[in-house]
Amino acid sequence: MIDRLFTWFDNRLAISRSGRHLLNKIFPDHWSFMIGEIALYSFIVLLATGVFLTLYFVPSGQDVVYHGIYAPFDGQTMSAAFKSTLDLSFSVRGGLLMRQMHHWSANIFVGSIVVHMLRVFFTGAFRRPRELNWFIGTTLMILAIVNGFLGYSIPDDLVSGTGIRIAYSILESIPFVGSYLATLLFGGVFPGNGSIIPRFFILHVLIVPLVIFGLLGAHLGLLVKHKHTQFKGNGAREDNVVGAPMWPTFMIKTTGFLFLTTAVTVLLGAFVQINPIWLYGPYIPFHVSYAVQPDWYMGWLDGALRVMPSWELHLPGHMIPNVFFPAVLLPGITFNVMMAWPWIEAAFTRDDREHHILDRPRDRPVRTAVGAAVLAFYFVLFGASATDVLANYLSVSLNVVLLSFRVLCVVVPLIVFPVTYKICTEMSHTKGAGKRKQYNIIVRGEDGGYSAVPTEAYAGYRHEVLEPIDVDSVDLSGVMGEPEPTGTAGVYQIPRDYR
């Protein structure tokens, strides 16, 4: 019956041939190739929890009076958006869990994108033919950050309202067009005519996710087309792909990984409080709380605003305000250089060949050192977004902390670059660097002399380099539940041909 149904569909859609092709796809084995999947699965969690939240959230800046469970707001006037978020937290069954899962998942989403990018950067996976996919990936990261900020903003609480106020000023600081842009987006001078919440909402739940979804398709499509990059070893060459087949090995691994990622999100959502808007209260434009920070992925921008000295540029007839440099120019340069990196590097190395075998970071000391220094710079800026919290906890003057960060964001990258460079060159010239230590046993011989006998790194374990077998030469459909063919432990290869 199932067989006949399948045949009926296959005769009309012709899926079995391309499906067979897809199931025979080979995924190279390395744990770092699964980082992107954390982002993918967080995105799925975000969509699922987001749909739930949309059922209850009211995207409106209209004033309503609260008469709900949480006593400190009883009788207070607030926006419908804030009220519905309160109700989601206190009155909707499972609502608070969904809110917290959504927020934690957003943090993990952007975090894993960044870690994934670092993996791709430091192993040189962005080189030809993958420059376009790097470009798409960077765009995805920017969109993830933007959508995170939009989602953080729409509950209309005191903390996020302050964030929107800062965003308004950043927009205003753009030379010549800034004030027009800000007025256009907010429907008037801040706080506008109440339309910012519905506008952010539709961007957050429809437009930006749709673009993310489309680009994600392109991102994965290109991945399938180019086939995955791989590290040396196990018979991996530039012209083949060595690893585990899509079905059954990779499918089982990745499904398990989906559940594990979701489990982390559920546990965090259930046990660790995030964005308790009821402790912040509704946003009132003339109220402001101290110690307000954005979510971590915007933290470097906040930090840049804090460490920027109060310089302005006075042009004839126009003044470029201080905010412009850290909040518009810096991200502008950051993202443009990031997107153009494959071409920038190729221009320096004059290397236009295709690369499917990954670099080890230590073998590319300049790239690794540049990456580490830039990362250190943004990490210092991230730290600078908490100047007040640090000053308070360390009982140090706030002014001293701020000054330290001004110095650190220049000094730290300058130290990190040469140190990383040196570590890389030393490691790439040292045999066995980074491997497990092999202890020597000193033995005294019968003639009274001493000799050192090296032990095995993994006692009793001898790894043999396996020769991968062509996946097309074996019938994988019967692999599940049956002994592996010829005892190869599932190391297969397919030719790498994407043209």
């Binding site: 390395h30 744990w31 190739f33 980082i35 999947e37 954390i38 006593a71 400190p72 707001f73 009883d74 207070q76 937290s89 917290q100 934690w104 943090n107 993990i108 975090g111 903390v159 590290f231 040396k232 070893g233 196990n234 990984f257 594990l260 990622t261 982390v264 999100t265 965090l268 046990f271 660790v272 409080q273 995030i274 964005n275 308790p276 009821w278 402790l279 912040y280 209260g281 009132i284 003339f286 109220h287 402001v288 101290y290 110690a291 307000v292 979510d295 971590w296 933290g299 908490a386 919290v389 000053a391 009982s395 140090v396 003057s397 706030l398 002014n399 066995g432 491997k435 790894h463 380099v465």
Partner: protein, 284 residues
């Protein structure tokens, strides 16, 4: 002439002490005599202890004051080069500074910081009443009674007047220079009321003026009930430090756990290393 480091340190210490003295007096001190009468009128509206014990307690208070406070504030609380005069400051001021553990200072030049009350409640009240008996003025110790106060109005007033320094969750934060707005956790209603009406240190004066007596009670109700005992309905509260703490958890616990799982599920290929070494040996 070269000055020795000890001289410089001493001069610095005196400067700091002077600075502390001035900040302890607060802005209100200079205009005190003008507003004292005004305050006395308002003091009746903030509910205070109904019966103030008189004679025997004052004797205990004086003894305690002479033993613990007079070395800086002077015999008779008239102040010295180390510490300001307490005359006319009222019992509420003294009660707040002593019960919060700010006073007495272990070292006269040290910054006051929160700690356990060094005296029993009765002893603290005795000291406060003794100082208040020396010269009229200021406020009596408030009862901290908030029956009938509105936490909702209090939340709104807190958001408007207090969150700017103490943060909206009341966890406190560093201000410019060495100053900081202390945490509001673990305060009883009497201490909160005293802080609002006596404006310690750099804190602005909210009463009388910005807030009415009823509004002070509303704020006290909100702070003592909800800032002191935040409703962490979502789980572990992370100290009310907001997105910075959340970011660290998200990155190190969230992404970190997922990475560990990736390490578990994915493979760490040893061959990559052996192949590399084999290649190097072949070249050598």
């Amino acid at each position: 002439m070269r000055r020795s480091p000890i001289h410089i340190a001493l001069a610095g210490a005196i400067l700091v002490a002077g600075f502390l003295g001035i900040s302890a007096l607060g802005a209100g001190a200079t205009t005190h005599s003008v507003v004292a009468k005004h305050q006395a009128v308002h003091a009746r509206r903030i509910s205070t202890r109904s019966s103030q014990p008189v004679a025997p307690e004052l004797g205990i208070g004086q003894t305690l004051f002479d033993e613990n406070c007079s070395s800086c504030h002077g015999i008779g609380a008239g102040g010295s080069s180390l510490a300001p005069s307490l005359l006319g400051r009222g019992a509420a001021t003294v009660d707040l500074w002593v019960s919060s553990g700010w006073m007495p200072l272990a070292v006269p030049t040290a910054q006051p910081s929160r700690g356990p009350d060094r005296f029993t409640r009765a002893q603290t009240i005795a000291i406060a009443n003794y100082v208040a008996s020396l010269k009229p003025g200021g406020f009596a110790i408030p009862s901290g009674d908030v029956t009938g106060a509105s936490v909702s109005l209090g939340q709104n007033l807190f958001s408007e007047n207090c969150a700017g320094c103490h943060t909206i969750t009341g966890s406190g934060d560093a201000l410019s220079g060495q100053l900081n707005a202390p945490s509001l956790h673990g305060l009883n209603p009497t201490m909160i009321t005293e802080a609002i009406i006596t404006a310690p240190g750099n804190m602005p004066r909210f009463y009388p003026g910005a807030l009415t007596a009823a509004q002070v009670r509303d704020v006290v109700a909100y702070v003592s009930k909800y800032i002191g005992h935040p409703d962490n309905a979502g789980g572990i509260g992370l100290g009310g430090n907001g997105p910075v703490a959340e970011g660290f958890i998200g990155l190190f616990i969230g992404v970190g756990a997922c990475l560990l799982f990736a390490l578990w599920v994915g493979d760490r290929s040893e061959d990559e290393e052996s192949a590399e070494d084999a290649l190097k040996e072949a070249h050598a």
